[in-house]
């Protein structure tokens, strides 16, 4: 293989560590497979606010505060807040940042935002520019549905390939000292478009981008799937992860039992979510609950976390554009 083909990975020498992690989910996610691992579950989707957008903002605020507390830090210890969400102009993150007296960078990578913010946060910490960086994302089913699809009360059926936007938020504090799993490398993905136009088939949109990033990780870090205790993709859903397995096999990489997908795992089958969960909160909440907690217990020692996103806009897809996907990866070790 050509050496120049992949050089998308940055390696961290100073072991930026995740010292605090907090996850918050909605009632439906609480009933799902990971219900007992989340730090906090809301009783209803309104979270005491009068609109869903305000509820979403409150979720990310709570996730940030929770993570700071779990890291045994104070608010003024946070040098940078890196966050993103799915709404137009990422209002949930920006408006949440308004309430905190800390520098803020908004990031958008659709559902890949968690890995994107973690990777960027690690770069800042590893480079010695900042001591503590908070990386967070949030998504809310009802706000996403309103923005991307149809009104909540419209009596339509969801197509069989559609995914369910998770009402969830996760926040990690990346720090230059402390205890916790460290980020050994981050791989930034390329926007990949394989000509899918169906907005209800996000898995198929994101799978090729995920394949590209995954191949880059294995090539750049000179590892193979069996070197990891867990390879977890963001939210390809059931169909998307099946496609990914096929695509990887096509490139000579066999994904084994240590591969799984957050979207596919989030809900139980009887919750009728078709292909599984999606939304940037889906992978963020599972990373910041189950995965990091298991790593702290050293049950998982090396994890490849790839968050995947479909960079769609309703305007572009109405104009007949195909849907591009992207994926970013971080390798977590303990």
């Amino acid at each position: 293989m050509d050496n120049l083909l992949y050089n998308q990975t940055v390696f961290f020498k100073n072991k930026p560590r995740i010292v605090g992690n907090y996850s918050i989910v909605g009632p439906k996610e609480k009933e799902g497979n990971f219900g007992k691992y989340f730090d906090f579950a809301m009783e209803d989707d309104h979270f005491g606010e009068d609109t869903f957008e305000k509820a979403e903002r409150k979720m990310i605020e709570k996730a940030l505060l929770g993570a700071i507390k779990k890291a045994n830090l104070k608010k003024h210890d946070i040098d940078l807040f890196l966050a993103g969400d799915l709404l137009n102009q990422i209002i949930s993150s920006s408006y949440a940042a308004r309430a905190f007296d800390m520098p803020y960078l908004g990031v958008f990578g659709a559902c890949s935002t968690m890995a994107e913010s973690l990777a960027l946060g690690s770069v800042f910490v590893d480079g010695g520019y900042f001591r503590n960086v908070a990386c967070a994302t949030v998504s809310h089913f009802s706000t996403a549905e309103r923005q991307f699809r149809f009104p909540l009360e419209l009596g339509n059926q969801r197509p069989p390939t559609s995914q369910w936007t998770a009402t969830a938020s996760g926040c990690s504090i990346v720090s230059n000292k402390g205890e916790g799993p460290f980020i050994s490398s981050a791989t930034f993905g390329k926007v990949t478009d394989y000509g899918i136009t169906d907005v209800n088939n996000m898995g198929a949109v994101m799978a090729p981008g995920t394949m590209n990033t995954m191949l880059a990780v294995f090539y750049d870090t000179k590892t193979e799937p069996s070197d990891y205790d867990l390879i977890v993709t963001g939210d390809l859903g059931k169909l998307g992860s099946e496609i990914l397995i096929d695509l990887m096999e096509h490139h000579g990489v066999k994904l084994g039992k240590n591969y799984c997908d957050c979207g596919q795992m989030m809900y139980k089958i009887e919750q009728q979510v078709l292909m599984g969960g999606s939304g940037c909160g889906c992978s963020a909440s599972i990373l910041n609950s189950y995965i990091i907690n298991e790593m702290k217990k050293e049950k998982l020692k090396k994890v490849l976390f790839i968050a995947t996103g479909a960079l769609l806009s309703t305007t572009a897809s109405q104009q007949g554009e195909t849907l591009p996907g992207i994926a970013h990866a971080v390798v977590l070790e303990i």
């Binding site: 009104p151 909540l152 009360e153 419209l154 339509n156 059926q157 899918i196 088939n201 096929d246």
Partner: protein
């Protein structure tokens, strides 16, 4: 253009990969729910004519439709119509109650953005095309009848 070729192949592959479910159960559900809504409409119409036998047929239908629109709108408001819709699909979209649902649901949703620019502007975000196309096509037919 090997990209185009690749994309074509990928699309073909994905289409083959999409799980195929039988359409008969959903067709059956939309059949009986749709039929039931029509029976309810017929029942309302019969009752109206029973109560007011002097009413012209056309007027009785107008009242019937208004009552059905009320029911559809109310069920949307209390959050029931979307569940019927999930079960019945076309069975609850095609009847006039579905038209009513498609007006009430965005109105409810965008109430949070204000009455004028939220609710009133978005009210026809789904049903708008129905009214536009209906007006255009019917007026053209009316004008056509004038010529011939």
């Amino acid at each position: 253009m090997h990209y185009r070729k690749r994309n074509e192949m990928y699309n073909q592959y994905v289409n083959g990969k999409i799980p195929k479910t039988s359409e008969w159960p959903s067709l059956f559900n939309s059949f009986w729910v749709g039929g039931l809504i029509c029976i309810i409409g017929q029942g309302i119409n019969d009752i109206i004519l029973e109560l007011m036998p002097t009413l012209a047929e056309q007027t009785a239908w107008a009242y019937t439709l208004i009552i059905l629109i009320f029911i559809g709108s109310f069920l949307t408001g209390i959050g029931v119509y979307d569940r019927i819709g999930k079960f019945a699909g076309g069975g609850s979209i095609v009847p006039i109650t579905g038209f009513s649902n498609s007006i009430t649901s965005p109105a409810l949703d965008f109430r949070s953005e204000g009455i004028v620019f939220g609710m009133c502007v978005k009210m026809f975000s789904i049903a708008g095309p129905v009214i536009v196309i209906g007006f255009v096509a019917s007026t053209l037919v009316g004008l056509l009848y004038l010529i011939i």
